[in-house]
């Protein structure tokens, strides 16, 4: 619907026009089908399919070496796919060089041109388009305004802090109004406070611009804070894709559950399966919970128990397990406990300070525990 909207027109129109509909359901801008990339004998991306919605903030999330950056580089045009297809607006991107794609990138190291001022960096793409000096100046000003960097226009990149360089890199990437903005771990070099601050700004910017953002990160908290849609990658394949709450509550497999949110995984065998739920025999006993439809009776499965699914109960109340505290990690305000019950390690939050060795009675929130594939 809103194919190319200039930053300023949205900024001036006010807010809310794009928030009415779910961005995840917006039409697919970019489609990957059977996408493969090999480097020599090693497989970086092993045949993935995904769609990038036109107005959504999509994150490729995974540990280092999972293929997420390679996918980003194929979308930008820096790497040629070994197999499969990439289509933008139904047009194949094969043999389209990077400079001809309506896609711009914010690089991990910012990659600002050290011999150009901030204004020249931001205006680089417009100058290449042979825009008049007036137009370049006006649009550079507008882009810098979007990232609150107008007063730094005459500086050189080496005179800016990391956070400021990052903003300039964003301004440079949005000034030509791309259909798709690629961001390659753009906040990883910044300290925590600056990172959190810029996360909010990036999310806000994506909403205002109404264009597709594809964000690459290994930081699951960052992915959750920013994304409408998360694509979790592992070893070159997609482990799961979906909205953040879906991925958190219903991880497709043990890898996703473990990678996201520090779950305790309890393995067992599926004893019985009903519509939407399953019973699983574990050292903690037979537990019935919501289940991934892919698990099969008699097969191995895991129980995903998040720290917030574990409660402490007093004597006389119903308890699922008796546990001994192994580790207690004080995190300011609350303590993360690791406790052992029937040979199984469980993580739990406590507001009180509890010392290792303490005996506890635990109750599990059965309605929120999830059974999924190994």
């Amino acid at each position: 619907m809103t194919a190319s909207v200039s930053p300023a027109s949205i900024a001036m129109d006010g807010s809310g026009t794009t928030a009415r509909t779910d961005p995840v359901r917006s039409p697919a801008l970019l489609s990957a089908r059977g996408l493969v990339k090999n480097f020599g004998k090693s497989v970086a991306v092993a045949g993935v399919d995904f769609d990038i919605p036109e107005r959504a903030f999509t994150t490729l999330l995974g540990p280092s070496g999972c293929g997420k950056t390679t996918i980003l580089r194929m979308i930008a045009g820096f790497e040629d796919p070994t197999g499969g297809s990439l289509e933008l607006d139904g047009q194949s991107l094969a043999s389209v060089p990077p400079e001809k794609r309506p896609v711009n990138t914010v690089f991990q190291s910012y990659a600002l041109f050290p011999h150009m001022t901030v204004a020249e960096n931001v205006g680089f793409s417009l100058t290449l388009q042979r825009q008049t000096k007036d137009v370049v100046e006006r649009r550079v000003q507008r882009a810098l305004d979007t990232v609150h960097m107008v007063e730094f226009a005459a500086r050189y990149p080496s005179e800016l802090s990391g956070g400021q360089q990052q903003r300039v890199a964003v301004a440079r990437a949005i000034v030509a109004e791309p259909r798709l903005l690629l961001l390659d771990e753009p906040l990883s070099a910044l300290d925590r406070k600056m990172r959190e601050h810029l996360q909010i700004e990036l999310k806000d910017l994506q909403r205002r611009l109404g264009i597709a953002f594809v964000y690459v990160t290994h930081d699951q908290e960052e992915a959750f804070a920013l994304s409408d849609l998360i694509i979790v990658m592992n070893r070159g394949v997609i482990a799961q894709k979906g909205p953040p709450d879906e991925i958190y509550a219903r991880p497709a497999n043990a890898f996703v559950a473990d990678f996201i949110g520090g779950a305790s995984l309890v393995s067992g065998r599926v004893a019985e399966k009903k519509a939407g739920s399953a019973s699983i025999a574990t050292p903690l006993g037979v537990i019935e919970a919501e289940a991934n439809p892919a698990v099969s009776v008699g097969g191995e499965a895991v129980l995903v128990i998040r720290p917030e699914h574990v409660a402490f109960v007093g004597e006389g109340e119903r308890a699922d397990a008796e546990a001994t505290v192994i580790h207690a990690i004080y995190q300011g305000g609350r303590t993360l406990l690791e406790a052992e019950a029937a040979g199984v390690r469980l993580k739990a939050w406590s507001t009180e300070r509890i010392a290792p060795g303490a005996q506890l009675r635990l109750a599990l929130d059965w309605r929120r525990i999830f059974v999924t594939e190994v």
Partner: protein, 290 residues
């Protein structure tokens, strides 16, 4: 302060050696330049006749100008040919870089005289190139301009000095972050535009280093012009050589040598000033590439 001084003391012997080694011969040359020669004897007096000769006899000016021109021509020629080679080398996988480097240096392993006589065999009227052109019917009479001409001198000066230029540019290109080139492409630059907007400005230190080396080597080259340049092969260096040697006119030889040295240094300083004050050079030299 005291600490820094105590460390720099180790550099002192070398510094003294360099200063004495460079300054002493110059002082000697300057001394000779004001002496006079009488019946093959050097008479130590103070006479500016040789210096007057430098400014009144146009031969010296022409020869010095010629040296500067051939130095500049060689620098420009090697830069134009060297850049694509250097950029290409920087993109090779590491193993192939070693191979490319070895190939690049091959001409230097062959002695200079051998190389120059080999060029005679290639460029001569009965040489390889003329025979080839004749056999494919492109020419009927051998091209005389190929050998003993300013063209052959320039060609071989470029050939001889190309490795130094490529080496300097190549190292400089290696230091430019690949992501800067990707960023330029990403923002809409075609490869040639990325070259002129990113690679060229940020590799000017390499270009400058290569240019100085090639300029000095080519401007002071004696053998190439005299063996391949024919009648055009007279050079300031050859003149200095014959003035010191057969003519035994040491004062004039000293004046010419000093004037040539001064002209070369002045040109190099102006070049350095122009090239190194560019923004690309400043960014590259202040560590902005990382």
């Amino acid at each position: 302060m005291a600490r820094r001084f105590s460390r720099s003391i180790f550099a002192l012997p070398v510094a003294v050696f360099l200063v004495v080694g460079a300054v002493l011969p110059l002082l000697v040359l300057f001394m000779f330049s004001v002496f006079t020669v009488e019946d093959l004897d050097l008479i130590p007096d103070f006479n500016l006749a040789s210096w007057r000769e430098l400014f009144t006899n146009p031969t010296y000016g022409i020869l010095i100008g010629k040296a500067l021109m051939s130095g500049l021509a060689a620098a420009i020629g090697t830069a134009i040919i060297g850049y694509p080679v250097a950029v290409g080398m920087a993109r090779l996988p590491p193993v192939w870089k070693g191979v490319a480097l070895t190939i690049l240096m091959t001409p230097l392993y062959v002695g200079e005289l051998v190389r120059l006589y080999a060029w005679r065999l290639v460029l001569g009227t009965e040489g390889l190139l003329n025979s080839l052109l004749k056999s494919i019917g492109l020419i009927e009479q051998p091209l005389k301009i190929l050998l003993f001409s300013p063209l052959s001198t320039a060609l071989v000066l470029v050939y001889n000095n190309l490795p130094f230029m490529v080496l300097a540019i190549w190292i400089s290109v290696e230091l430019v972050d690949r992501r800067l080139i990707e960023a330029a492409r990403d923002l809409g630059a075609r490869p040639i535009e990325a070259f002129f907007s990113v690679i060229l400005p940020l590799t000017t230190p390499g270009l400058a280093a290569g240019s100085f080396a090639v300029f000095a080597l080519a401007a002071g080259d004696l053998l190439t012009p005299s063996l391949l340049g024919g009648t055009s092969g007279s050079t300031a260096m050859a003149m200095v050589d014959s003035l010191f040697g057969t003519a035994f006119d040491w004062p004039t030889a000293s004046v010419l040598a000093l004037a040539l040295l001064f002209a070369l240094i002045l040109t190099a300083v102006i070049l350095a000033k122009i090239v190194l004050s560019s923004r690309g050079a400043r960014a590259a030299l202040s560590g902005g590439l990382r």
